[in-house]
Symmetry: D2
Subunit: 336 residues, 4 copies
């Protein structure tokens, strides 16, 4: 951290500040220039409240120059993390397509879709059992029953399953689930993240609607600090002023995250755009931008789906997207 001191700072106050920083375990390094005096802090500054420093009488500006995340930081872990689920690798050049319905609705529905997406190239099955809905009057998912039906589909097709968890106390219910998803609205549900750090299962962590990439990595850090290093990041669009799409898919986040972290990065083109007709071009763009995978909504009857039918592809549409995406992969050095 670098502090620029006010030109007329009181030397006594500077002495106090330095003593206090030492008490936090930090070394300081003073550079007195003609126009500016700079105080550099060396050591583990992740414990320092930068806003408090900025508010001090003698400080003009304070700037953090090292990242506040460690376990997720590529600097300390240069090689790509590869998360493996039942033989399917994500990251490090390995690309996977996760597909399935927004909500699990019935055994027939989930098993049929599972077979269809598998035939079309999906290697993992998604499906919502616990559903976060903006309205208390909307369908909230089949919950435990939904998990049971997902496991049936897994049994039938062999596809590992990915589904959303909304509360720490539900963890025991997810013991047979392959990848636990944390939704955008829970990206900073820290009590949940802490508990997920204590289990030994891959976590698919979605970026919050208004969260920076650094905050996404801080949430990954919550999980990793607990000992669980199998975190898959997911870009799913951010909230902006533009209303033509549901959210603004930030594909620039893919190469930026690949610089910041060693964790794999996948993209959700369905929730981010909100319209099924935008899923094919955005899936291809995500692959071309270097994503490590996709999570796509597919429904055998989108017009009658109980939730988010608008953004679901039919199995036929999905098969075409899957095929086109696979043509892009060799150009970007990925395999599936």
């Amino acid at each position: 951290m670098v502090l620029v001191l006010k030109p007329d700072h009181d030397p006594k106050q500077l002495e106090n500040l330095t003593a206090w920083l030492k008490s936090l375990g930090l070394d300081t390094h003073l550079s007195v220039g003609r126009y500016q005096t700079i105080l550099g802090l060396v050591g583990d500054t992740s414990l320092v409240d930068i806003d408090m420093i900025k508010n001090m009488d003698i400080v003009e500006t304070a700037t953090r120059i090292s990242e506040p995340y460690k376990n997720a930081n590529r600097k300390f872990h240069p090689d790509d993390t590869i998360v493996e689920v039942a033989g399917n690798k994500i990251g490090g050049g390995h690309f996977q397509i996760i597909a399935g319905p927004c909500s699990v609705e019935s055994e027939e529905q989930i098993c049929t879709i599972a077979e269809q997406v598998k035939a079309a190239g999906a290697t993992l099955l998604r499906g919502g059992a616990f559903k976060p809905r903006t309205s208390p009057y909307s369908f909230q998912g089949l919950r435990e029953e939904g998990l049971r039906l997902l496991l049936k589909a897994k049994e039938r097709t062999g596809l590992p399953i990915v589904t959303e968890i909304m509360e720490a106390s539900h963890i025991p219910l997810f013991k047979d689930v392959d990848i636990l998803q944390v939704g955008a609205r829970n990206m900073q549900n820290f009590e949940l993240l802490k508990e997920l750090g204590t289990i030994d299962k891959p976590i698919l962590l979605k970026r919050g609607l208004a969260n920076t990439l650094q905050e996404l990595l801080m949430s990954a850090e919550y999980i990793m600090a607990g000992g669980n290093e199998k975190v898959i990041l997911c870009e799913r669009g951010i909230r902006t002023f533009e209303t033509a799409t549901r959210n603004t898919l930030d594909l620039g986040s893919i190469p930026v995250l690949h610089e910041m972290t060693h964790l794999p990065v996948i993209v959700d083109p369905s929730h981010s755009t909100g319209f099924s007709r935008l899923v094919p071009p955005m899936s291809m763009a995500a692959a071309a931008a270097g994503a490590d995978g996709l999570i796509i909504e597919v429904h055998n009857d989108p017009k009658h789906a109980l939730c988010d039918g608008a953004q679901s592809l039919t199995p036929e549409q999905f098969a075409e997207v899957s095929s086109n995406v696979q043509k892009i992969l060799p150009i970007v050095g990925k395999t599936m």
Copy 2:
């Protein structure tokens, strides 16, 4: 809900759509114009997924024209809701000031501040026991011990207490807390909201960083749908491109919320701006804009506070803000 149909829509598809809408309990009303054909839906459209409708082949646009919230809607409840806590009324012309430290740190700290803010005009005491922090390496609050100390301060001063709850399973720990606060990051933690709907305590619901006013009311609706109608809304700034302040305090939300809902609306000028020197002008602006109260961070030693010292006022600064705010109240027809 109003649908505009595509000019060349297939009459058979229109028949199917109408039949399906009837099956949802809605009446339809068709207007065939020279240039456009409009289908109006009458009845409880809160169950209809508008995105799904928009995606239908024969539909050009779909627009929701009635609000998806009921219990929180001023239309169905024209009079202001007044939430009363130990004799302190919030809403309906009654203004309250909630003050206290970001975090509870020790018995001495919380009791001293409680006495100071009471002397300066605060009528409720705030203080964080369970703290949502972006970094897993930051101080996470004294948790249960923090609640115990808050109750000590209440005992000493008589001030009712307001503190944040982060997870449904913690509710029993909050049985003696007067107002349970839901933080911005948990505004759409629907499992938590559902549980808070089943208890008989006022809930202070903070607006999420990227949430619209309608979404804030939908979250209030989650609580109210469970039977708990004592919801106090709190504007605390939204995330925008501007970085000169921590967040952008949206004071226009006050008169807009007062039109949309009968629930009281208070403002947090501390977290929204992030700098203590901005708290006085924003507190006064909030009062002038018609807020029903303020929640302000005060610390007896902001430079050494364990969290968010940067945005905390000293007790002396708080006393001045409190006094100035009280000069504004009669101009806007409020009493304290």
Copy 3:
């Protein structure tokens, strides 16, 4: 436009409203439902101020259901517009790469880069002569002299040139320029747009930092309303809360614009991201998302460029991007 009237509206006021709408040349269509009364407006509603209508005593909500742009609207012009510049076609399946330096700095510089980008696959040359800079103390471009040097480079290489115009009174200076660019900051400089509507040259119109796609089309409409239909739209990133990239490149705008309008859509991956290392993945993503072209900054000595060196590729890097983008084109049905 559809108005929902207040339940208790005064019939006399409705009569007045209807009369006034008729005076604007609109037909009205009243639907009286059990719960709601809807007034549909039929005719050219682009002249109606929707905010004024929303503010009327008897109106609860008002919704525009037809687009306020005509010439740019795909509905009235279903076929793709193809803009042709010296034999290079943009749009309708034709893809072009525009490349060159941020600023023209010297004859040697612009001619050298022109030859290099031509060799690497660029079909048009860009280069700033008049430069919009945030600071009055930054280099403002060589202005007239810069235009002269661009024409030298065109003479030398045969590449048509694209350069930015900042004020209507400068139009005569641009008489030999092939494509006039309107920058993001001038997207709503309506006096400039009106004048550009009267000339017979293609206009490259960049999306403003905080402008919706509809507003972009309204600005295109300003040009087209004057008679100039050769408008090329350019996505160049929008301003959001995320600071890891300079702007957030909104690639979802490509398929959405292709639905809304028949005009070609190109992408600027250099200004949007602000970092040269993000240009290759975003160029490929733009091509995969269906863009009709790219405009890329290339500099033979980025470290010493007078402006925006940070986002410029070297000619070698550009050659690699160009080659990779061309591998994507056949997958999305485009040719170059």
Copy 4:
């Protein structure tokens, strides 16, 4: 400016960098720490392209620590600037209310409103002659004729006039106008700003919809660098994800701008909110937050106004706002 160098930087490259910085007239100051090497740049860094520095091989991060604006900077000009127009002072404790219609429509209209707003406390008259409209099909203002009518109203009432200029070539037409307004869409029309820097009239500079406060001051700097120091800043709302109001009025900008600059800051509560019923609370909030003035739309017949009727107050409503605002001024130490 402070650069953090990469841990393994090549000493030869550092030497080159230092030499290049010296050639720009900057001194450098190297601090070699155990974990980090920091290079401080001392001198006028406003000429350095920070993005280019960030992109250098040996640089990890670069941070600007001094503001890029000089003339507008309060550090170099600690006293409030007071802009005086025909005896009306703005800034330095002096508060003014500018009022009038969105557009000038007729002599009778503008003269009637001028008399009404003067009677209700307005000290300057606003009115649009040249109108920036999103749609080319909307009323574009009476232009020259509008200016003539404004001067009639000034003659009749003695109120100085404020009106918008959209293009540099129009400056001669504004020779009798008292304050020239630069609208939000032209805040970064640098060719216009440069020309306004050469005249001797106060400029009312509105913040752009997506512009930071620093960018607002950089635009003020364009005017001041030309010699015209009479700049009045105007907060008029920024574009965010929230759609309940037209824009989000950022009242926190008032105290922040007062810290950054000595220039007066006024607020436009009409355009920012878009609804007349929100103008009274936001006017009062702006005064309470420390604004130096207000610019408010008033129309004698809002329902038939040719533009933006929705946000205009009636003269009676304006009189009430004016009276209430004047009750707030003494509390914040302002006089009118």
